[in-house]
Amino acid sequence: MESIDSKGIVNLSRRQFMQGGAALTLGILLGRALPAQAAAAAAPAAEPAAYVRIGADNSVTIIAQHLEMGQGTYTGLATLLADEMDAAWSQVRMEGAPADAARYGNRKMGGMQGTGGSTAMANSWETMRRAGAAARAMLVAAAAKQWDVPRGTITVREGVVLHDPSGRRANFGELAAAAARESVPERLFLKNPHEFTLIGKPLARIDNRDKVTGAARYTQDVKLPGMLVALVQHAPRFGAKVASFDDKAARRVKGVVEVVQIPSGVAVLAGDFWSARRGRDALRVKWDESAAFALSSRDIYARYRELAKQPGTVARQDGDADAALAGAAKKLQVGYEFPFLAHAAMEPLNCVIRLDSGGCEAWNGEQLQSVDQAALAELFGLPPERVKINMLYAGGSFGRRANPASDYVLECGHIVKALAGGALGGRPVKLVWTREDDMRAGYYRPAYVHALEAGLDAQGKIVAWKHRIVGQGILASSPFKARVQDGIDPTVVKGAYNLPYGFGTQRVDVHMPELPVPVLWWRSVASSHNAYAVETFLDQIAAAAGRDPADLRLELLAGRERHLAVLRLVLEKADWTKPLAQGAPGDKRGRGLALHESFDSVVAQVAEVSIKADGSFTVDRVVCAVDCGLAINPDVVRAQMEGGIGYGLSAALSGAITFNKGRVDQSNFDNYTVLRMPQMPKVDVHIVPSAAAPTGVGEPGLPPIAPAVANALAQAGAKRITSLPIKLA
């Protein structure tokens, strides 16, 4: 046991009693420094946030401050709290926290409330455990009084409080009311890792039942009395404006009740999706495209390639890379092109909003509470605390639902605002984007062009490394642009300017041209392209120097014990030193390696591929090693590695959003093809044992897969792939 003070934990039960609520409720007053903006928005005296509620019905309800969008957050949060509390896994329930940054701000996101950057477990590691420890102590204190025995003789096991000498026992529900009258103890005892009963175990996901029975509630499933469904006709090109529209035919469609113009287009409202859809089909909108985006992908790449020839803003400089390159015995260079990518989460975007005299209430797979709450408050002229946001399950996001510009949330708000005051005012509106809207109305992983150069000395050692990146900055093109310092946007250079490799000299520079294409973080952000450039170039260098790609990396990582351990583990599990098994007759097989650190975790992967006689190829197997600190739930970690690999492979094999004179060429899964089951390789995940605080798992599995596959293809005899998606012929 580790003893810590309980400062900040508050017994909220009395307030709950007044609302006729649960028996024991504990909150945490987060005594952390909030950034000026969030502090100003906070209620005068910050109220403690409720983190756990024990009901008389013996349920333990955990209030989740982070969105469950597939990455297993709910399971992780529940594990942390339930372990310290010694609750039974089966009695734990989850509830989404309301939008309230003063109480539920994410310390890893500067105090803003939100889920992203693979921070959920790192942010919750302490708070959830402290809340659990406090609840346990109060239950024990209540039992000790009732039974008139010393606290030290009481134990707690799987939701039951026991006094072994007398055989007395009570469950949490039976003790909750008495525990609620206890005060929070001054000192709390957190378990040492060897005392964990749930943390580190492959517990069943807490959302399993909901999600295999169809009961899980997503925004798409919200139905409220009087609710209308809205579809929006969006601009055909970014920057186009509505010139005029003819809604006569649309209004004649049975079920359509209203058509309204909003800043992003024209919305058709009906009682159900299908009627709104038919209404939108019948709508005629004339667009003013005079100021609209009109470039084609070809033009963008050409412009970026020109920029890549000129020095950019320096993001990292170690020594004089130019001089070292000039004096190098051998020089190599390469250029890469990465396309725009759609997030294409399985649940197309949607949002439900009701605005009435009581204020605004929203239902959303909410990933950025602070931003969306402020945006809606401003739109409706309400104080933020009168904008209530219900966080529902999200059917994926991969970054898309965390938009600093609140695009689809505000779009729904604008529709609601347009109805306010009219006959339909006060009716809740569910905005639904069709798959086509989701793919065409924007927010993409930016396209990038990279240029790299390396110099080797006579022994084949890297003495100079130059990396230039050209493409839109994500923060730089968002309302958060003030966070870009010295012209360096981390959303462009992370994973390139913080490499663990010991190059003799290095220089990383960047151009961030502006473009009217709306862009956003996409699972693993900058690492989604930087890892590819770095890791495939390293293989090219290894080949030129006649070195084994693994040996080269082992040498470049000298002294980086954490990285080395991950690399050695993956090499061992992939049987790197043994020859790769032969494939079917005529197949050429290859094996490729990549390693990358992102979100404070280190992941290495070995991919095995087969190139068929007809030039097609398959990715047969991926061996993955990860160090993510202590694995709160190893099975969830494995699942996230599998998912990151599948999502990254999908993009590598066929992901590309392209433009033709400003119009998006893709529209749905028939022309933006994604990974399907036959293409999914066998994935073996190995976790480095660790007692360090947990680091990210939702994103770090992605960056190594595309370079590992490309390196494997090169090893099998294919040419080096310098433009994604991969095309062999």
Binding site: M69, G70, Q71, G72, P202, A204, R205, D207, N208, R209, D210, K211, V212, T213, G214, A215, A216, R217, Y218, Q220, D221, K223, V229, K254, G271, D272, F273, W274, A344, A345, M346, E347, P348, Y393, A394, G395, G396, F398, T434, R435, V636, A639, E642, G643, I645, G646, Y647, L649, S650, N668, F669, D670, V674, L675, R676, M677, P678, M680, K682, V683
Partner: protein, 152 residues
Amino acid sequence: MKLNVNGQALAANVPGDMPLLWVLRDHLNLTGTKYGCGIGQCGACTVHLDGAPVRACLTPAAEAVGKKVLTIEGAADTPRGRAVQAAWEKLNVVQCGYCQSGQIMSAIALIESNPVPTELDIDAAMAGNICRCATYQRIRAAILEAAAAPRG
């Protein structure tokens, strides 16, 4: 229009060309069946019509009249359905979960028609169901597990 869904007779006042997906979701409050693409590409809307898997987004409701519709909400009514759901839980298949109703309905249909599927059979039968969270490896394993489960 009268429909038989999960063994229940239900009525909906909708045009016959409205896709079954939207009748289920917006008019019968059966929201387990999901919208993912609307063009038969993703499989999120998979339901059974007289035991055969169909894409509800492309099936006009009128076509379901006189047939038995089975959705995820009724999946647990059959031993096979329960075995599939149990295997899904045992192997922690789900991530975001949004595709999983469709995956499970496709998996049940596969095992009904091919009680001992090979991995290749599974890949072929499930290729029409997209999972953006890429839970494919676990779906494969869960189908093998469910197929091997004792009947009853």
